[in-house]
């Protein structure tokens, strides 16, 4: 279409249709988003009981493959979406961070189940109170465990987000909040911890 400043994708294949135009136009960004949202390669980081519900969502009865997200990759380097399914302990946190860092851009993170969203009913010495203190999270799916319908709802919301090209980049920072208990110390960073675990 001459004169238009929009980027477009021309297609001669469309010319057989009885359309007045020989062109199918789109923004490149939209086309990429469309392609990405229907070809999600997910990395299931399954640590706890939510894994059962994840399997049920992925299996034939609910069939995540209808949304183009049926093929889990067990290498973070080949995945687009990190599904964190189950409780993350403080000792597991650096492993999760490493897996996230190994994923190629663009990447998204889904917190599956209430333990990953907030820590859930755990308020103890071992559990991370929400994985968004460790890695940025795009979609939160609450539930203990979430029903498959809930998971699919989250997946559709993730697809909508992928279509827009947005990605979460920020961590939840509890230091921004007032009224924290006195014994909390924030000096020790996750990077220091990874360094330590590696030795």
């Amino acid at each position: 279409m001459p004169g238009k400043t929009k980027p477009w994708i021309g297609s001669n294949a469309m010319s057989r249709l009885s359309s007045p135009s020989n062109f199918f136009t789109s923004k490149l960004k939209d086309a990429l988003g469309w392609a990405r949202k229907f070809s999600i390669f997910q990395y299931p980081f399954v640590t706890a009981c939510c894994g059962m519900e994840y399997m049920s969502t992925n299996a034939s009865h609910y069939d995540q493959d209808r949304f183009g997200a049926g093929f889990p990759r067990f290498s973070p380097r080949q995945s687009d979406v990190l599904f964190v399914v189950g409780t993350i302990s403080q000792k597991m946190a650096p492993v999760l961070k490493t897996v996230y860092d190994q994923m190629c851009e663009p990447k998204w993170v889904v917190a599956f189940g209430v333990c990953t969203c907030t820590g859930g009913f755990y308020d103890n010495y071992s559990t991370v109170m929400g994985i968004d203190t460790v890695i940025p999270v795009d979609i939160y799916i609450p539930g203990c465990p979430p029903r498959p319908e809930n998971v699919i709802d989250g997946l559709i919301k993730l697809q909508a987000k992928i279509q827009t090209g947005e990605q979460s980049r920020t961590l939840y920072d509890p230091r921004a909040k007032k009224g924290r208990p006195a014994e909390v110390q924030d000096d020790y960073t996750i990077e220091q911890h990874i360094k330590h675990i590696g030795t």
Binding site: S126, P174, R180, V184, I190, H193
Partner: protein, 164 residues
């Protein structure tokens, strides 16, 4: 003669409590006698406890809502089993709060190695002569020992901040 009676006969002055409940024999001993009792249990013909099934600890602080006051705060609990004779004995070692320390049994039963590290991690009880006494479940920077009854249940550790 049951294993309990044999130990009682040999170590009468080191025994604080002896108890049989539903055919389970339990002895509470002083920490100074642990090594000798363990060697006796393993090496004596007719006893031959060759299997350390479990090793854990109990913190009796605030026990029964504070109504029961023991003279010692911790007990390290050993469950021994003899594969040859199919008999068992439970040994408890009374440990003081001021100097929580007992001898390591990892030289006699290899399985004691990781159990003792777990007890050190969770209760802060040290095991002398342990080959590698470091935390096993928590990370090294973890402050305190979480299964002690005076550990604050909602304490946040340095690694991950809280969600308030």
């Amino acid at each position: 003669m049951t294993p309990l009676q044999k130990v009682q006969e040999q170590f009468s002055k080191d025994i604080l409590e002896a108890r049989i409940f539903s055919n389970e024999e339990t002895l509470t001993i002083k920490p100074s006698a642990l090594k000798a009792v363990a060697e006796f249990l393993k090496g004596t013909p007719g006893l031959e406890f060759n299997f350390l099934m479990d090793l854990t600890a109990v913190d009796y602080l605030f026990y029964a809502g504070g109504r029961v006051q023991k003279e010692w705060r911790f007990e390290v609990v050993y469950h021994f089993f003899s594969l040859k004779f199919n008999h068992r004995i439970r040994i408890k070692v009374a440990v003081d709060e001021t100097n929580p320390q007992v001898d390591s049994l990892s030289g006699l039963w290899a399985s004691a190695n990781w159990y003792e590290r777990e007890v050190w991690d969770m209760f802060g009880i040290r095991f002398t002569d342990h080959p590698d006494l470091k935390r096993i479940l928590m990370y090294e920077e973890f402050q305190g020992h979480p299964l002690r009854k005076d550990y604050p249940v909602n304490k946040r550790q340095p690694l991950i901040g809280p969600k308030i």
